[in-house]
């Protein structure tokens, strides 16, 4: 019974893995994977066409290899997939339209967080300047006391 099960699984599994009967898959030069890395696997989440072993990505890699052999450029090949799947297939969102939002947001985020830090530092310094009546000696003594508890202090 167990063996029958294995045979069945093997038959099904191999049907999934090797779509073209018992023909060996094509040889793929490094350039194929470089291009495939920029395209997403249409049926997976979080995997590029270079990483996934789904049947559809094996087919994509075969197509890329064929087009490279025909002398097509990388841009032409990527355009071929964009025409078939829309720009969703690109792992790098295009820097225009909706895609531009995701590219600009980090810059805006840096600006907002940076400005937050800047205004915080300005406010604390202003309050420090307003504080009067603390002499340099007192400051120095406090500093020395702080320096005792291990950690952090400048290598002295």
């Amino acid at each position: 019974m167990r063996r029958v099960l294995w045979v069945l699984i093997l038959a099904l599994g191999l049907a999934g893995a090797q779509t073209v009967g018992n023909e060996p898959p094509p040889d793929l030069p490094p350039k194929v994977f470089e291009i495939a890395k920029k395209l997403r696997c249409p049926v997976c989440r979080g995997e590029s066409a270079a990483e996934s072993n789904a049947g559809v990505t094996e087919e994509m890699r075969r197509q890329i290899a064929e087009m490279l052999a025909e002398g097509k450029t990388e841009d032409e090949i990527i355009q071929y997939f964009v025409d078939r799947y829309t720009e969703w297939i690109l792992y790098e969102p295009p820097k225009r339209g909706l895609g531009l939002v995701v590219w600009l947001a980090p810059v805006i985020g840096l600006g907002i967080f940076g400005f937050g830090l800047y205004s915080y530092l300005r406010a604390t310094s202003r309050r420090a300047a307003e504080l009067e009546g603390i002499s340099e000696e007192e400051l120095a003594r406090a500093e020395a006391e702080l320096g005792r508890d291990d950690e952090g202090g400048a290598p002295s």
């Binding site: 979080g46 990483e51 969703w88 967080f113 530092l121 604390t124």
Partner: protein, 649 residues
């Protein structure tokens, strides 16, 4: 007695003692009576023992192949090897939340033992009891693994094959949960600090827990990377997969907080911001669970959906609401005072934290953007590795510069002597970059080499100059080094910084110079590639009780025979490639069996991935763990005495 009954008894006891502990701390708070805190501590221990019993009951069911409960009937098979049976407990949703709950009760108990302040500890313990009750109630009522199965099957389907393909799966989730749960302790202290209006001391009280959690998160992320490298069969260690990102976000926020906590400890600054950071870091651990358990995202981590997603989302919102509503009061009361010189230790620490916060923002943005666009607009967009890589390159450089300079500068302001080494660092940066360019490396890789040397010079100076100074003062190098033993924690920090610089180097090279190629070879045929000769000697099949494997014997010249294989599991239609990696200090040779001749066993199709310096990534992970351990290890008596002598002298 059977595992199902025992498990439920354990869970009920755990819930009972958690509620008892919660009631005790409420009494203690309102009656101002410290005796109730002692009661709460004992309840915390008993709650932990209850979850431990439940954990043991589930292991009992797994190891004795008892299929009378839901969890084993769905996720277990008697054909698994023993270690897989043991690790199956956290291979699916119910068991992994039970593990999380058990670790949470353990931390509540351990953290409670250390609480000395009878004013804040009722609140901190109360927060921890509420957090553990959330998990326990979920395990008991929503996703109970011990639910009896009316007609127990003779055998089950077994865990996800990807998870039984490598022993790392027994380790990585535990490390991750230890890190996630660890962040609950600083969060609970922060809540207590905000409630009791003691805004300053909580950071030093929870520093140990914070670094403990940070160490486990770091180890877990590297362990996950190594697992993908060894198992997933595409020769990479990080894919910016949403689930990887979900674990990276709390790490980034915790890293920012580790640094800003030092600023608060030392200068009493950044107090409101630290409350925000610790709340976000802890919320990040729940956010990751929501993302992966809710079915919003499909991946190897995404167990069956169900009601857990919305429940975790609710918990996430509660954490944020509690944290930020308390913070509202804090920010109106706390007025930090102190001028900060940008060119000082604290100035650079804050800029470093800014870099980590922006990194976290980028990861959150890139992960959620496709989901948000689809939800609001219906449009489909992809945000993948190229996006994250392009943004992390400049942020990573900023981090490398700041982490070298920060420890060099003294607090408050930089002075002449500390600045001298900067010239040497600048020289090493320029020389390293120029050397890289001369060797024909890309600008980005060369710059990373320069920055690695920049860090190396800084660390070398940090270590050597105090030794030299003490040796002069004490009249001998040995005496000088002996007197520095008590600063071990500082050296732990330096070691972690060194490991980060080393991993940056490994990442730059492995991402830039990777060769990926696929070829079909006849049995006996040789292939000249990447400076090696690859020969296929044989193709054979091996049958195990739980799987069936097809193995190719492939010789790489000078590296022996490798066995890449395809594993077939009864639950999966597609085979799982199990790559074979030849590790070297330079390049790794990574072989995947892609396909083979099923009829005559005459040919195999191999994928070869050659990647430089990946090994150093795992080395740096070990160094980071060592550095963290150095920071955490309690000071010995002799060392304390030495420290006291130092102060007295």
């Amino acid at each position: 007695m059977n595992p199902g009954i025992l498990g439920n008894i354990g869970l009920v006891l755990a819930v009972f003692f958690s509620v008892a502990g919660l009631v005790a701390v409420v009494f203690s708070w309102f009656l101002r009576d410290a005796r109730y805190v002692r009661v709460a501590r004992r309840s915390a221990l008993l709650a932990f023992l209850g979850t431990f019993v439940a954990f043991g009951a589930l292991e009992w069911a797994l190891l004795t192949d008892d299929f009378s409960i839901l969890y084993t009937a769905r996720n277990h098979t008697s054909a698994s090897p023993t270690w897989v049976k043991f690790a199956t407990l956290w291979a699916a949703l119910e068991g992994s939340i039970l593990l999380w709950a058990m670790l949470q009760t353990l931390y509540t108990w351990l953290a409670g033992r250390k609480m000395r302040d009878y004013w804040t500890s009722p609140v901190a313990l109360g927060a921890l009891f509420v957090i553990q009750l959330f998990f326990l109630v979920n395990v008991l009522f929503v996703i109970n693994p011990f639910t009896p199965v009316p007609n127990p099957p003779a055998d089950g389907p077994g865990p996800n094959p990807l998870l039984q393909n490598h022993w790392m799966m027994a380790v990585h989730p535990i490390l991750m949960y230890l890190g996630f749960v660890g962040l609950s302790v600083p969060f609970a202290y922060a809540v207590a600090a905000m409630v009791t209006r003691r805004y300053q001391t909580w950071v030093s009280e929870t520093k140990w827990w914070l670094i403990f959690a940070w160490g486990f998160l770091t180890a877990a992320i590297f362990a996950g990377g190594w697992w993908s490298y060894e198992v997933l069969g595409w020769g990479g260690y990080w894919a910016w997969d949403p689930v990887e990102n979900a674990s990276f976000i709390p790490w980034l926020l915790a890293t920012a907080f580790v640094h800003t906590a030092m600023v608060q400890e030392r200068r009493g600054l950044f107090r409101s911001w630290n409350f925000a950071l610790v709340t976000l870091a802890f919320a990040g651990t729940v956010f990751g669970t929501f993302l992966t358990r809710s079915g919003v995202i499909e991946s190897v981590h995404a167990f069956a959906g169900g009601p857990v997603g919305p429940i975790f989302l609710g918990f996430l919102l509660v954490i944020l609401a509690v944290g930020f509503s308390l913070l509202g009061r804090v920010s109106s009361e706390v007025r930090d005072v102190g001028s900060v010189n940008v060119w000082s230790r604290e100035g650079l620490l804050l800029f470093g934290a800014l870099v980590f916060v922006v990194m976290a923002f980028v990861v959150i943005l890139g992960t959620l953007f496709p989901l948000l666009v689809e939800a609001f607009n219906g449009a489909k967009v992809s945000v993948g590795a190229p996006f994250f890589n392009q943004l992390f390159v400049p942020l990573g450089y900023a981090m490398l510069v700041l982490m070298a300079l920060g420890p060099l500068l003294p607090w408050r302001r930089a002075e002449g002597e500390t600045l001298r080494v900067l010239a040497w660092m600048a020289v090493s940066l320029v020389l390293g970059t120029a050397a890289g360019l001369a060797l024909g490396w890309t600008l980005w890789v060369s710059l990373t080499v320069g920055l690695f040397l920049f860090n190396l010079v800084a660390l070398g100076w940090l270590i050597a100059s105090p030794i030299a100074r003490k040796s002069r003062a004490l009249g001998g190098v040995r005496a000088g080094m002996g007197s520095l033993a008590w600063t071990r924690r500082r050296y732990g920090g330096y070691l972690v910084h060194f490991a980060v610089a080393l991993s940056a180097l490994a990442i730059a090279f492995s991402q830039s110079y990777r060769l990926d190629v696929q070829k079909t070879l006849q049995i006996g045929e040789s292939w000249q590639v990447a400076g090696r000769t690859i020969t296929v000697h044989a193709l054979r099949a091996v049958e195990d009780p739980h799987r069936y494997s097809v193995i190719a014997d492939v010789e790489i010249s000078g590296m022996g025979t490798r066995q890449p294989r395809l594993n077939y599991y009864p639950t999966s239609r597609t085979p799982f490639a199990s790559p074979s990696v030849a590790y070297t200090l330079g390049k790794d040779y990574y072989l995947v069996l892609q396909a083979f001749d099923q009829e005559n066993a005459q040919w195999v199709t191999l994928r070869l991935v050659v990647t430089p310096l990946v090994l150093w990534l795992w080395v740096s992970a070990v160094l980071m763990a060592l550095g963290t351990a150095m920071i955490l290890w309690p000071a010995r008596r002799a060392a304390r005495a030495a420290a006291a002598g130092e102060v007295g002298a």
